[in-house]
């Protein structure tokens, strides 16, 4: 009887030990953010068609057209979107064939051509500055004499 009791005690003691060994795992990731210089966009020159005769067409090359300057974080690509008017504030003054140049220096001579569009496009500003030139073609149909103006809007955001 004593032996039976002892065996049971041994078994009970073994059973009383934790059946499961503690198991643990961990992982560390990161919360990250990059703080950038604020973007500024300045319209530095209007796209001027000057005077145009009835039933005439006039094209202004981008190098002689409207200008914008963008300042931001050096090396950070930005997304540029244009809102371009279809007419010069009158249905008989359609605008077409928009053209653009972009450079990181204020010289249009070494600028690269791009197509201004309502579709965002990525431009790189290695120096933190972008200079953009904008040109278009204006057609004057049977338009009443007068002065006409329409806005051109550029929107720039960090990618």
């Amino acid at each position: 009887m004593r032996r039976i009791t002892c065996l049971l005690l041994v078994a009970a003691a073994l059973l009383a030990r934790p059946a499961r060994l503690a198991a643990q795992a961990s992982a560390t990731t990161a919360a990250t953010a990059t703080v950038l210089q604020a973007l500024t966009v300045t319209a530095t020159g209007d796209l001027l068609f000057g005077t145009i005769a009835f039933n005439a067409t006039k094209t202004i090359a981008p190098a002689a057209g409207g200008t914008f300057q963008v300042r931001g974080e050096p090396g950070m690509p930005v997304s540029v979107t244009f809102t371009l008017p279809a007419t010069l504030a009158h249905p008989t003054l359609p605008l077409s064939a928009w053209t653009g140049l972009v450079n990181t220096t204020p010289s249009s001579n070494s600028a690269v051509a791009f197509a201004p569009s309502a579709v965002p496009q990525t431009l790189s500003a290695g120096s933190g500055r972008l200079y953009l030139w904008l040109g278009a073609t204006l057609t004057a149909l049977s338009t009443p004499s007068g002065t006409y103006t329409a806005p051109v809007t550029i929107t720039v955001v960090y990618n």
């Binding site: 198991a23 795992a25 990250t32």
Partner: protein, 152 residues
């Protein structure tokens, strides 16, 4: 206990013999694994508030024994750096890799824990938060998010 054990082992010298049987049980569990991806806020201006919700935020994947409760301990940073503050943490979980239908665990403090189990053996957690910069210095900021999972 030792005395009883010795007595039991020496009992073979007695002429009388008897026996008893019992069973010993133990559970071998699948090792827990935890892996994760970063909670990336992307770019901010020097003064700005930006929220990245949990479904679009960092994701942890935990594998463990199915239908076995675990305790999940989390450590979330309160700042990313000087003048870059984190707040409104959000934690979602799902046994499927489906953040859109995940359950909100709680509105966690920066340190806390909760109990979970999964019938599939895999648990997904998504973490999101709001970052606020107040005239912060330009630069890249990073702080750790740690998740520790332990069998109960």
């Amino acid at each position: 206990m030792l005395i009883c054990l010795l007595a039991a082992l020496s009992g073979g010298r007695l002429h009388a013999q008897t026996s008893a049987a019992t069973s010993m049980t133990g559970s071998v569990l699948t090792a827990i694994t935890v892996s994760g991806t970063d909670l990336a806020f992307g770019t901010l201006l020097r003064t700005q508030t930006k929220r990245v919700g949990a479904p679009a935020g960092g994701r942890f994947t935990i594998t463990m024994a199915s239908s076995t409760p675990v305790t999940i301990n989390y450590v979330l940073p309160s700042v990313l750096g000087a003048s870059v503050v984190l707040s409104a943490w959000e934690l979602l979980s799902n046994t499927l890799n489906d953040a859109a239908n995940a359950q909100q665990v709680a509105t966690p403090a920066n340190n806390g824990s909760f109990t979970a189990s999964t019938p599939t053996g895999t648990l997904y957690l998504w973490v999101g938060a709001t970052v606020t910069t107040t005239n912060a210095a330009i630069g890249t900021y990073s702080r750790p998010i740690t998740l520790t999972v332990t069998y109960n």
